[in-house]
Amino acid sequence: MHHVAMGPFFRAWARIGLQSFGGGSTTLYLMRQLTVTTHTWVSEREFAEYWGIVQVAPGINLLGQTALIGWKVARLRGALIALLGLLLPSISITIAITALYATIRDNPVVAAIIRGMIPATAGIGIILVVQMLRPSWQQARNEGRASMLGSMAVIIGAPLLLALTTLPAVLLLWGAGIVMAVLFWQLRVRSGDRS
């Protein structure tokens, strides 16, 4: 635990919330600068370890990272204040932009702007999908044929089932997780038998 005054601690996180235009990577960059470089609230290794943990924790990764760093600094109080600091400005601005948009969304010019933005959002989303899939796919290639086939089955099967059936998305996600858990376990058991 660190002895950090909560006023400046809140303001430091609020500054990130105000400045982080440009999505998650900007926010993460500013967060690392604040917590590892400017202040030494967490070490380089802890920052990286937390980032790994939040990849598998529920919710928005950056908020999980914020909660873990806040917890390290001042336990529950630190986690709450860090989250509040990060979220308050971002949320206020997001709500203000949405409220403004909601009042002018029927305007033909605004409708044309959104018509242009929708395919761009989809294009950016496709890159996001590729970026999300790539590390897992590379790992599967290194692990061998069985892992690659299992991964391919999930990559093709999950979206097909979502598109063609009425199965709930949550069920498909859990199903994919369980299938791969069983596969990995069996692969480990077999490699253990051989060695």
């Binding site: 919330g17 400045q19 982080s20 235009f21 440009g22 999505g23 943990i53 939040v54 529920p58 919710g59 928005i60 990764n61 950056l62 908020l63 990272q65 914020t66 909660a67 873990l68 986690a79 979220l87 949320i91 601005i93 997001t94 709500i95 932009i97 949405t98 409220a99 948009y101 044309a112 702007i113 018509r115 242009g116 933005m117 929708i118 395919p119 761009a120 959002t121 989809a122 950016i124 989303g125 496709i126 890159i127 996001l128 999908v129 999300m132 899939l133 991964s151 999930v154 990559i155 979502l162 709930p168 998305a169 949550v170 498909l172 996600l173 994919a176 997780g177 791969m180 858990a181 376990w185």
Partner: protein, 168 residues
Amino acid sequence: MNPWLLFWLLLKASLFSTSGTGNVPILHHDMLALGWASDHTFAEALAIGQISPGPTGLWVISFAYLVDGIRGALLAVVAIAIPPFTALGVLIFYQRHGQHPAMQGFVRGLTLAVASMFLVVLVRIMHQAGIDWQSLGIAGAACGLTLSKRIPVPFILLLAGGMGILLY
């Protein structure tokens, strides 16, 4: 609109996803089934989420505002603020069991499924907005510019908005 149900759907989507946009397929499925939102609402909220400050996961606040006003936005704030605290429990659990093959496999399956299912939502959003040569051109250009990393994402969206005025 039942606020408790809306809150539960927002919370559930956040609890069962592990990234800012990982909740899109779950929310998309639930909200369209109830008739509370359309593909267009998702597209609008995702675009606003990209140009707003903070994590892109805040798109859900914009989405909840569009479907239920300020009450919805505040419900979304609470729904996204709760799951990060589970990271503390995951930290302890992962330090003990993270190396177990079943745990690694489960996380892998979840990651692959979330990403590939997001693709279905994107296709539906594009389809609902109307697919033509102009929209395919904008989507392709946005892909290229995002890959090049030369222009920040909010500017790509602003450029696309400008193209929208010229083309539509």
